[in-house]
């Protein structure tokens, strides 16, 4: 696994900082926020990113979304002992990634130059830079991964959907290895202005207190940026290569609300959770932890609380629920991947991070929450929820690997 997050440019550092209760949310520095009301964000540290990319021998593509994914992919491949040192050697591995916005920087650059300089001001290579599948293609080319590569776009569910699709590819025997996960870099003027205007972003003046999933005092989400990459591999292939197995994906469910472009539906989300349980051949009684979507918007957290109760039935009051977004904001198309990574590590180590800003749980979010300290968990099975604009629901079931 590999991660580029506002709390570190590798998986281990990000995890340690979350466990230590550090918050990656600050005032946004990447753009001039003079006219913005949404001033807080979780940004990746540029200096650390640059050092990590150099150490991993990754040249910048000039697009932050791609660079995040490339740097996290390098970490994941190195840890999985699958990074090619010889550019002539190809690896039979698919690249299936998620993104919410896509190549945001390249898109903004093209729009900006078109408006300021006209047609001739637009860079001739704008199309291969803007297209969202540049993310998976660049990784495929850089690391010589010759399986299919494409990008899945299902808003905030993108990475979780991508991981689920990758899981199915392996389960169906199409391929033995898939590089999967998600990436997003939202802090560009045009798209971030849209988020600012949408009215779902917290205006809390204290950055580290601004993202408050399931808290009665929450006033919206806070956006973050980064990437999370996982190498999925068939059990036979991993055993044959004798590499450490970090965890197991044992179920994936998805659904559409089929109702509204932004307003979520408990029934739609619950259906995705039930589909995931069915796919894993499990009952709610098997689940020991839920890593919630938990965006800290009024609508999401209340809806997700209902959907969890609908799907988990009488087991709801027993299962600890936490959201990681109070640490690194809502990383959109990367969130599902990074939160899957924290869930896998949590199961591996038997401990899950606290609900950082959950001071006063909203009575309308009637769930059993992890408290303000990390919590020991014995159960080997967890759920990762991701729900996106568009009524896109994706749910993974993860299990601690036992030989």
């Amino acid at each position: 696994m590999g991660a580029i997050t506002p709390l570190g440019v590798d998986e281990e550092t990000s995890w340690q900082n979350i466990l230590a209760g550090k918050c990656g949310i600050n005032r946004i520095t990447a753009l001039d926020t003079t006219d913005y009301k949404a001033l807080n964000g979780a940004e990746v540290n540029n200096e650390l990113l640059s050092v990590a990319m150099k150490a991993r021998q990754i040249n910048s593509t000039s697009d932050r979304t791609v660079d995040f994914a490339m740097a996290a992919a390098a970490e994941a491949l190195e840890k999985s002992r699958l990074r090619n040192t010889d550019p002539a050697v190809e690896t039979e591995m698919a690249v299936i990634l998620g993104t919410g916005i896509g190549c945001n920087h390249s898109f903004f650059n093209a729009v900006n130059t078109y408006i300021t300089k006209g047609v001739k001001g637009v860079r001739p290579t704008s199309v291969p830079r803007i297209m969202s599948n540049a993310i998976s293609s660049q990784i495929s080319m850089r690391f010589r991964l010759n399986g299919p590569n494409y990008v899945i776009i299902s808003a905030c569910a993108s990475a979780t959907t991508a991981i689920g699709v990758a899981y199915r590819m392996i389960k169906e025997g199409n391929i033995d290895m898939v590089l999967t996960g998600g990436t997003d870099a939202v802090f560009e003027p045009l798209v971030y202005a849209g988020w600012n205007q949408l009215g779902v972003i917290s205006c809390n003046p204290v950055p580290e207190k601004s993202c408050r999933p399931f808290d009665a005092g929450r006033d919206g989400c806070v956006l973050g940026e980064g990437a999370g990459i996982l190498i999925l591999e068939s059990l036979e292939s991993a055993q044959l290569r004798n590499v450490p197995i970090r965890g197991e994906i044992c179920g994936f469910g998805e659904s559409s609300d089929a109702l509204h472009i932004t307003r979520p539906s408990p029934e739609g989300q619950a259906r995705a959770i039930r589909n995931a349980l069915k796919s894993a051949d499990m009952k709610p009684a098997s689940i020991g932890f839920i890593n919630a979507h938990g965006t800290a918007t009024k609508a999401n957290d209340e809806c997700e609380s209902k959907s969890i109760r609908l799907a988990m039935e009488d087991e709801t009051d027993r299962i600890p629920v936490a959201s990681n977004k109070s640490y690194f904001g809502h990383m959109l198309g990367a969130s599902g991947a990074v939160e899957t990574i924290t869930t896998v590590i949590g199961l591996e180590k038997g401990i899950v991070p606290a609900n950082l800003n959950l001071d006063n749980p909203d009575p309308l979010c009637n769930l059993c929450f992890v408290g303000k300290e990390p919590m020991r968990i014995e159960s080997p099975v967890a759920i990762k929820n991701s729900f996106g604009f568009g009524g896109n629901n994706a749910v993974l079931i993860l299990r601690r690997y036992k030989e």
């Binding site: 040249n59 000039s62 001739k120 001001g121 860079r123 001739p124 290579t125 291969p128």
Partner: protein, 81 residues
């Protein structure tokens, strides 16, 4: 802008456009452009960056015969006059 200054600028732009592993610090007037890892796509980026940097346009046909970084710098030096 002197030819040396143009070469410095070209080196920075080339480093950005080319994805090849090149020892850019050793690139000089005699370096063959063909050895710097450009393909039909990345050369478009380089031409674009040059045009944006120098503020004038030129056609690809005008570059026939330009083989080295120094020759390109001479072409640009003449063009800016």
């Amino acid at each position: 802008m002197t030819q040396q200054e143009i070469i410095e600028k070209l080196r920075t732009m080339m480093r950005k456009s080319s994805q090849a592993q090149v020892n850019w610090d050793s690139v000089n007037a005699d370096s063959a452009i063909a050895s710097l890892g450009f393909d039909s796509l990345s050369i478009l980026d380089l031409v674009y960056d040059i045009q944006q940097e120098f503020g004038f346009e030129f056609e690809a046909e005008e570059l026939v015969g330009v083989k080295t970084v120094g020759q390109l710098a001479t072409f640009l030096e003449k063009k800016q006059k």
